[in-house]
């Protein structure tokens, strides 16, 4: 006759095994659908070259030359001002969706921010499309400032430049983007870089919905020339919003597994202690 203890031990062992088996270890993928296959195998989506390689604490390409919305031409460094951290966004003006989402949310966060534009920080938006012109920059800038209710002399410049200069700046902040012939669109990550007043990368803000608090903190850190840590790397792309969804999923699953193991471990430990005590006393069976 098996004791209840050995039965229970077997049950617990099986449960423990089940809790640790990864979901993707199961065989049986009969779907031919590419998307399902990719999703189940954990491959990244077919978006090559869209990513952010964080270059925290490194200087940006200060010598890359740009033209701003007023037509003034100069090195990137000439738009930096002492004591003012910078919110830098890289977008392109013909962008169908993502850039607008990023900039709109940046505008929303700036409105809610306790910090004053032009006094506490400045904003730079750089076009990654060499075909964009200063005239388009001006039109775009006017629209955003109007929506913010700011005067037209506000400290937010829109820069355009040549392919070579744009690449130099993008590489220096680790902003990886590609041009897609089929859709005539750039595929790029959704991210806002926060630069220190001297032009080093201080913080990355990912996604299209920033927490105002995070933006404020990032700016304050940048002003003190501190380098922040990016806790969440959720990178979106122009085509699909899932360039890193696998990672995100893992994040949740890791959390769940830990929680499940903690609860399970606690209960098992309790039962082991209780059973051992009873078996020692000889009152169990």
């Amino acid at each position: 006759m098996r004791s209840p203890l050995s039965n229970l031990a077997a049950v617990l062992a099986l449960l423990a095994l089940a809790a640790t088996a990864p979901a993707h270890a199961l065989p049986g993928k009969f779907e031919s659908d590419d998307v399902i296959r990719r999703a189940q195998s954990g491959e990244p989506p077919p978006l090559q070259g869209v990513d952010v390689v964080e270059k925290l604490g490194e200087p940006v390409a200060l010598q890359a030359r740009f033209t701003d919305d007023t037509g003034r031409e100069g090195p990137f460094a000439s738009w930096l001002q002492p004591g003012k951290p910078v919110l830098l966004t890289l977008v392109f003006y013909r962008c169908k969706m993502l850039c607008n989402l990023v900039v709109n949310d940046q505008v929303r966060a700036m409105k809610e921010l306790g910090l004053k534009l032009g006094q506490d920080y400045s904003v730079l938006t750089v076009s990654i499309d060499p075909k964009d012109t200063p005239a388009e920059s001006q039109e775009r800038r006017g629209r955003y400032l109007q929506s913010m209710g700011k005067p037209l002399d506000a400290d937010w410049r829109f820069l355009t430049g040549t392919e070579q200069n744009i690449r130099a700046l993008a590489d220096s902040v680790g902003f990886k983007y590609t041009y897609d012939e089929a859709t005539k669109q750039y595929a790029h990550p959704a991210v806002v870089q926060v630069l220190s007043p001297t032009g080093t990368v201080s913080r990355y803000l990912y996604g299209t919905s920033f927490r105002t608090q995070d933006v404020g903190l990032a700016l304050v850190e940048a002003r003190q020339n501190k380098v922040g840590l990016s806790l969440e790397r959720i990178i979106l792309s122009c085509f699909k919003y899932d360039a890193a969804s696998r990672r995100y999923g893992f994040y949740i699953f890791g959390f769940l597994r830990l929680g499940a193991l903690a609860v399970f471990g606690a209960l098992s430990a309790m039962l082991v202690v209780l059973w051992r005590r009873e078996l020692k006393k000889g009152t169990a069976v």
Partner: protein, 563 residues
């Protein structure tokens, strides 16, 4: 009162003693738990497991009433193909409220929190549960969560159904957050109760009660408690995530932002499938007690019944995917879940055969609890067989989200949990309140409930099989006859329940005093006065028999002058 010092405290001895010394003035040397302090405060601040059980009984019955009223409203609405008494939104809210109240506020706490609390310490020969204050806390946690959930339902109410499926639940304009948060809070009550029972069974057993001398109800509650402790945290976390998604836009279940709506279903059913065993395992325990008490016979295959409770608790954790055959999970996964689900049927069948084996050649005393036992056996077998059918992937693809599924789980939940609850209520009513009820009315109402129940849900099997989807407000006219039949059945069911309420309340107020052990049961909980004194036992510890449910002494049975 001091018991005769024969060293034996058989129920009969107690009963005889009660008869000899029981007085009409209710002045006991050892007052029962009911009369030991009669102020409101003495009830609200009590740590006596019996009073806590009685308070749980009151609230659980209240929620049963609320959920039942909404069930009737839903059935009335479905009398005609178009709008009948409410608009589509009100209908959605009504069935959501019915589901949430019945599942989270009635069925999950019903038997463990009421009868588990009241009987478990008596059955293991303890003065109380291991953590009496925690026990009281679990009642207040439950009430807090329940009040919040009910408040949320009355102020707006959700329209998502009790499963809160994403993406709808993250976008709905109805007020979901308070309901989710309320259910989240009641989860803690469930966990605390479960922990309390596990520790009680391990550490509070009287000398001489080993694991294989425990009444089967205790085994069932023990298995249930393990499920409660392991599974409830999962839904707790999940409900918080849905609140976050709904209120703060987390994006956890939104594919557009890297989330996964199917993840919600996995997490939800990882709790909610074991939850059906939280609902039905205690019923199995109740039925094991009742079948041997009313067949006057030892339970057949004691160990098989005990282990199958643990088996169901275990296998129940690996069957959740059978709710998701059409969610896009791979066919391989579906097949695995399908097979694992059928294992539950194996364990349940072991129990059913053992119960039937217990009745076989027993001296059946056909009282109200036994009537519910008969109804229960029929519903469990019928509902269980349809369960095997819906666990078959190929069939479920057609039946998924139709009335067939609704009828299946109502057969198990009403036929299982509600039968068990009513059976337990009738079996232990004299124990808990020391009053008798009219058994004739009991049998009549049991018959009405069982009949009404069949008339409610058998038409729904037919409806589901011909394609009536669940949760729909309107339906083609050709379905009307079956819907009307279903509503008629629900009315009969409600009538039966109303009769139960009337005669039980009447017997509480003006019933005759019950004998200490009116059924002549050999259950350990009857080895003390009814209602029990505050500390459960007076005088020496009862002497427990060689095995539980000890109706026939095998040694005596071999003798020619056997009873």
């Amino acid at each position: 009162m001091s018991l005769p010092v024969t060293g034996s405290t058989s129920p009969e001895a107690v009963a005889a003693h009660e008869g000899a010394h029981g007085d009409a003035h209710g002045e006991h040397a050892h007052p029962s738990y009911l009369t030991d302090g009669t102020t409101i405060k003495s009830w609200l601040l009590t740590v006596d497991h019996k009073r806590i059980g009685v308070m749980f009984l009151f609230f659980v019955l209240l929620f049963f009433l609320v959920g039942g009223i909404y069930a009737l409203l839903v059935r009335i609405e479905l009398l005609t193909p178009g709008p009948t008494i409410m608009d589509a939104m009100a209908y959605n809210r009504a069935f959501t409220l019915h589901g949430v109240v019945m599942v989270f506020l009635f069925m999950i706490p019903a038997i463990p929190a009421v009868f588990g609390n009241f009987m478990l310490p008596l059955m293991v020969g303890a003065k109380d549960v291991a953590f009496p204050r925690l026990n009281l806390l679990s009642l207040y946690i439950f009430l807090t969560g329940a009040s919040l959930a009910i408040w949320g339902m009355l102020h707006g109410g959700a329209d998502t159904g009790w499963t809160f499926y994403t993406p709808y639940s993250t976008q709905t304009t109805t007020t979901l957050a308070p309901i989710l948060f309320g259910v989240f809070i009641t989860g803690f009550s469930s966990i605390v109760t479960g922990l309390n029972f596990i520790v009680t069974v391990h550490t509070m057993r009287a000398p001489g009660i080993t694991w294989f001398k425990l009444p089967l109800f205790v085994w069932a509650i023990y298995a249930t408690s393990i499920i409660q402790v392991l599974a409830t945290p999962v839904i707790g976390l999940l409900l918080l995530l849905v609140i976050g998604e709904n209120v703060f836009n987390f994006g956890m279940f939104d594919p557009a932002r890297g989330g996964d709506p199917v993840l919600f279903q996995h997490l939800f059913w990882f709790y909610s499938h074991p939850a059906v065993y939280i609902m039905v395992l205690p019923t199995f325990g109740v039925m094991s007690e009742i079948v041997s008490a009313f067949s006057r016979k030892n339970i057949f295959g004691y160990r098989a019944v005990a282990y199958s409770s643990i088996g169901i608790a275990f296998v129940g954790f690996f069957a959740w995917g059978h709710h998701m055959f059409v969610s896009g999970q791979s066919t391989f996964d579906g097949a695995i879940f399908s097979v694992l689900s059928m294992l539950v049927g194996v364990f349940t069948a072991i129990k059913v055969f053992n119960w039937v084996g217990t009745v076989y050649r027993g001296a059946v005393d056909f009282k109200t609890p036994f009537a519910y036992f008969c109804g229960f056996i029929y519903f469990t077998v019928f509902g269980g067989m349809t369960g095997i059918a819906v666990a078959t992937m190929s069939l479920d693809v057609s039946w998924h989200d139709t009335y067939f599924v609704v009828a299946h789980f109502h057969f198990i939940m009403v036929g299982g949990t509600v039968m068990g609850f009513l059976a337990a209520l009738h079996y232990w009513f004299p124990k808990m309140f020391g009053k008798t009820y009219h058994d004739g009315w009991g049998l009549v109402s049991a018959a009405l409930i069982i009949l009404g129940f069949n008339f409610t849900f058998i038409p729904q099997f037919l409806l589901g099989n011909s394609g009536m989807p669940r949760r729909y407000y309107e339906y083609p006219a050709r379905f009307q006859a079956l819907h009307v039949a279903s509503t008629a059945g629900a009315t009969v069911l409600a009538l039966g329940l109303v009769i139960v309420a009337i005669y039980l309340i009447h017997s509480l107020v003006a019933g005759k005093r019950a004998a200490a052990n009116p059924w002549n049961s050999k259950g350990y909980e009857w080895m003390t006065a009814s209602p029990p004194p505050t500390h459960n036992f007076v005088g020496p510890q009862p002497v427990y028999p060689e095995e539980p449910h000890f109706y026939v002494d095998p040694k005596k049975a071999e003798a020619p002058d056997a009873v």
